[in-house]
Structure formats: structure tokens, C-alpha cells
Symmetry: C2
Subunit: 358 residues, 2 copies
């Protein structure tokens, strides 16, 4: 049978520690060349949805033979690029029936090829980002790190905190995000979820000063953390290229990136009203850094490069680009737990296989 | 609702003329830059299935805004490379439960992103190859072409004939393939299917001599059609790079290829017992041709280059590489017909969409 799972199922089945452990094992496989990933591709066209919107069909693949799975993650997006304040934001529209988004993970067995499961990507998408930056914290932050600043109060910020708290004994968290209401609501909610005091900060400086770990978890296309805020012993963490000012990255003694993969393969149709992220000032600045000159997280975890070597070092982990590989690694845990716990709609595997030679 | 269709459904829903018409329209879109395709990618790893087998996760995407669809085609294969006679063959193993293959097409709407349908790729895979070479015949063979030679008697050969007979008034067909039993059974079956006499030939020369159209539809990794057999006015057609000897291709006045896409993106894991096709002598020879120097089928159909200009010219169409784009174009017809005829398992679209931002 092939399992159809929901985001609720995924949320119940996959814990952050499980997700971190699966990625950790998979990254060793990747560093050794035994696990592989295919760079994301974005096909961009016009859409009849609206003149200023685009349609995007995006995919990324990865295979982790040790975990017995391959995965492909697919997004079928309607996207607009409104100007919010002075900043251009990329906004996905839930345009599918019942106002829903479209993102899917298909999980296959490397043992016999069979389709094991199909599930939406939303919950796993943020968990794998969190888990990846959590591994950055695990391998780079001070062992005794206790205070954490989070810049951002959206859905990415939440899993950043969950992940960091899974790998360090965090005692207090300060949250800054530009909207007062958002940061207060987020802080209240996360205090309860984590059982750790999360305090809203009126200015970013108030959040980051004295923090052992600073995590950026925003949707900004411009820098939100600057060199002037860097303190000895800090661990800096970012979920996308432009969040940390390049000068702040250069101020770190140890910088590790998620992957040496370059930007996605981009295929754009004539007439698509498409703005490349890289055209934004923040991305431009970030791209002046040579990401390939930094070691990768898999290399760090597999022991090919050293992490932090003293309590005074500034360390920095840049989650520069996501990988389909992460969906395979975490997907293997989701599938295993779903089978154990009898969760999901079980459809006949024959519906997704064939007798005709493909 | 999202439709789950079977190969039987696809076979009933999509006629060859419909498939040819959809591709024809889509190729114009592609030539104009309004339709786009993402190069195939192959992720290759070891598998526990057997020591000499590999696991392959392959994907290709395409979007045809004019037809309102994007598609991704995924293959999850167990593959061996046995030596059959003197020739190395790539053999897919139906290793999934109930001895089945795994190939899927997912079809999405460019209007709102929704997942429209999921169906196996097997029937469409061969129909789109046939339809593509059928378009080669339509735009390049002599208008009065009546006799056709087919080299091959397998599953690809069948749709090659169906396609050619959809675009020309073919009166007789001769079939050569090395195995007597196969070519006789194929000829008998296709005579009945097409209502046109299909005669088995004991030697390839007997099949091709005097033929207006010669179609290669084999699984050979070495040339099966040679320069010495070229006659004035012939149209040559091939479904993969090595089938036609490069000297025979050079003997044609007009050569058109399917695509300027190069070989697939290939990611191979350490330990995978992988033999690249391109290492075979036939592929090596074929790759000495500069495929990018030839115009493409979309350019031909859109009128950017000329097809045949006289009855004496030798023309040649090389279907050098498949495209995810074809699955989108033909998929749009399959979906439309399925909705009209109420075919397939209709699952709630909510199962394949989400409220969580991906």
C-alpha cells in the first residue's frame, strides 16, 4: 500500500529530535558520497490567475540508500511579488480549491522502487529548515550556550527555536520582529510551547546583545543582522542568504554553509512577470561571498572540518539553500512511524505502479 | 478532486491523433518561448535489490501555459545492465510489489496550482515518443509516402507505426527485428491493428529497400541503420541517439532533432554499479555529431526552419532526448477526456494540497 499522509499526520509522527537525528545520519552519508541530491529546479510561467502573478513548478530530488529511500519534493505555486513597505516580498497565494497551497513529497523505496508515501511538504519544510540550523547549533555553538535571540516571529522562527532547544540547554530567549503584535504573540506562544521564557524585544539590538546564539528566521530579502552586533563567542545562524550582513559573516572565525549547490536551475517562460531574488540588494550583497569557499554542514558533521575551537570564536552557519535530500532523510522517519502507528490513507500500491514498461 | 488514472484509462482516453495534435500545439509554444521544459535528472545509487543492480530516481518537468498545465514525470527504477549477446542492455526490473514498474506523471494546473491528476507513465511514455516521431514524419516525409520500414518489434515500434499512419496514407509496412518469432508476431498483430499489410523481413536490407520512410524503434545501443541503405527521398526516423549511423545522418539534406537539451543531469552515488550509456560505442559515435547544430522539431513546426524542399531530399528526424514537456502537453488531453468521461478514482484534492504555507 501507498500511504497518503496529511500535515497533521506529519506533525504527530515526526519529532524535532527524530528529524535532527535523521538529517545528521543522512549528512554523513552525503559527505561520504553515498547519499545524493539533485539541485532544485524552478520552471516559471505566466498564469491566468492574475497579470502580476506567476506560476512556478519546482522540484528537488534526493536519495539516501542507507535509509532506503529516495524523495522528490514538488511545489506548484501561484506567486506574487508585492512591495511591502520598502521591501519586495515574495508571496505564495493559496489559490488551489479551498484556498490551499500545493506542495508534495513523494517517497520511494530504494530497495524495490515502490512508492511508499505521498504527503504535503508544509510541516516538513519548516521542520527540516529548523533541524538543519539545529545541527548548525549542535556542531558550532558553545556547549554552555544558554541565551538565544531570534529575529523573526513567523513560521520559520518557531522551528528554529524548537531545534535549538533540542540540542542546547537554552534558558532564555529574546525575540525581535518589526511588528509589535506579532513578536508579542509569538513570544507568549513559544514560552508556553518550550517551557522557557521568551521575551519580546522592542529593538533588534535589545534581542541580540549578550546572546550566545543569534538565529535569523525571517522572510526578509535584506540583511537583518549586522556586524556591529557581533560579540565574541556568539553563534550566528541564518535560514537564507541575505539575512546576515556579509561583514558580519566575515567577522566569524568559522563559517559553514548548508550546501555547495548553487542557485536553482531556473527556466523562465516568455511573458512571466518574474523578479529574481538575486536582483534584490540583499541577495546581491550575499552573493559577493564565495559560498563554495566555506565548508558544508555534511563535511562538518562527518568530521572533515573542525567546528568551534574555543569559547571566544564567533561561529556562523548559513542555511544557504534547501535540498530534496532533506525530505528523503526525514521522510524515512515519517514513513516508518506511520507504518508503526497505522496512520494515513492506505491506497493500493498498484494505483501508483504499472505492468507496462515505462 | 484529483484523479488517479491507470494505464488502461490513459490508453482509452488518449488517441494517437489527439496526442500528436497536443504535442504540435505545445511545440509551437515552446519554439516561441512560452512553453518550457526542465532537463531530465537521474539520481543513481546502489540498491539492496541485488549487487549488480542500481536504483534510479529520475524526473523531468514541463509547463505549457497555453494548455493550462505543468507536469512532472518521475521514475523510480531498479535497473540491471546484462550483456545480451554482444550488446549491453539496460533492463528495468519490475521490482515493486506484484512485479510492477514505477513511473508516475503528476499533472498540475497553471491557473491555480492544483494537482489535477496522477497516472502511470508507461502508456503515455510510448505514445509521446511515437507522436513526436509522427510529427517528424508529418513535417519531413514526402506527402505521397506510402511504404514504411520499421526496425524493431517491441513496444516502441508499435506506437511508431500508429503515429506514422496517423499523418501519412501508408499502404504497406515491412518489419525487421533480429528475432524471427518477434517480428512475425509483431507483423501479424500490427496488420490487424492498422488494417495495413505488415510483412516481416528476414534481413534489415529487405525491409528498408525502396521504403519511403524508415523508422528505427529498437532498444539497441548500437547503430541499426547504415549509410549504404540511404535512398533519395527517404525519411529517416530514430527514437534514440545511436540507432542511425552518423554517416547516414550526414547523408541527409535536412536533419532535425527533438531538442537542444543535452544529456540528463546525472548524480551518481559512490558504490553504484553504474554504466553510462555514453560509454557504449554507439553512443560515442552518435555524440560525435553536434546535435545543437541541427534545428529542433519545435523550430520546424513553428516555421523557423524549412522541412523537406523536394521529393529527392533525404530527411532525418532524431528523437535524441525526451522531455517532461511532452507529458504536460499530452497530459492536458488525458485530463480533459477523463473529466468529460468520468474516468478514474477521484480523490479529494485536499489530500494533495495544504493550508500550511510550504
Amino acid at each position: 500500500m501507498t500511504l497518503i499522509l496529511s500535515n497533521d499526520d506529519v506533525e504527530k509522527l515526526l519529532t524535532m529530535p527524530d528529524c535532527i537525528a535523521a538529517l545528521e545520519e543522512a549528512y554523513v552519508e552525503m559527505a561520504e558520497g553515498r547519499g545524493i541530491s539533485r539541485q532544485r529546479s524552478d520552471c516559471i510561467t505566466p498564469t491566468t490567475y492574475s497579470d502580476d502573478a506567476i506560476y512556478g513548478l519546482k522540484s528537488m530530488d534526493g536519495v539516501v540508500p542507507k535509509l532506503g529511500v529516495g524523495a522528490i519534493r514538488i511545489n506548484s505555486d501561484i506567486v506574487t511579488n508585492p512591495l511591502v513597505g520598502n521591501t519586495r516580498r515574495r508571496v505564495k497565494i493559496p489559490a488551489a480549491p479551498n484556498d490551499r497551497y500545493v506542495g508534495l513529497v513523494l517517497l520511494f523505496s530504494t530497495h524495490n522502487g515502490e512508492p511508499l508515501a505521498i504527503f504535503p511538504d508544509g510541516v516538513l519544510q519548516r521542520m527540516r529548515v529548523g533541524a538543519t540550523n539545529g545541527l548548525g547549533v549542535k556542531y558550532m555553538a558553545r556547549q554552555n550556550a544558554e541565551t538565544l535571540a531570534i529575529l523573526g516571529s513567523g513560521w520559520q522562527a518557531e522551528t528554529q527555536l524548537t531545534a535549538a532547544c533540542s540540542v542546547r540547554d537554552i534558558k532564555s530567549i529574546r525575540c525581535y520582529s518589526p511588528n509589535t503584535e506579532n513578536r508579542e504573540a509569538f513570544s507568549a506562544r513559544m514560552s508556553e510551547t518550550l517551557g522557557i521564557p521568551v521575551t519580546p524585544a522592542a529593538q533588534p539590538e535589545d534581542a541580540v546583545v549578550g546572546a550566545d546564539i543569534v538565529m535569523c528566521g525571517s522572510n526578509s530579502l535584506d540583511p537583518i543582522f549586522f556586524q556591529k552586533w557581533v560579540e565574541p563567542g556568539m553563534h550566528l545562524s541564518s535560514i537564507k542568504k541575505p539575512e546576515i550582513e556579509p561583514a558580519a559573516i566575515r567577522a566569524a572565525q568559522k563559517v559553514v554553509v548548508h550546501t555547495h549547490d548553487t542557485s536553482p536551475i531556473l527556466v523562465v517562460a516568455k511573458g512571466a512577470n518574474f523578479r529574481e531574488n538575486t536582483k534584490e540588494a540583499g541577495w546581491n550583497a550575499a552573493n559577493q561571498l564565495d559560498f563554495k569557499s566555506f565548508p558544508t554542514l555534511p563535511q562538518l558533521i562527518a568530521g572533515y572540518v573542525k567546528g568551534r575551537e574555543s569559547d571566544e570564536e564567533v561561529t556562523c552557519f548559513l542555511n544557504n539553500l534547501g535540498l530534496g535530500y532533506q525530505f528523503a532523510a526525514a521522510g524515512s522517519v515519517i514513513y516508518k512511524r506511520a507504518m508503526e502507528q497505522n496512520v494515513g490513507h492506505a491506497l493500493p500500491t498498484d494505483w501508483f505502479t504499472e505492468t507496462v514498461h515505462p
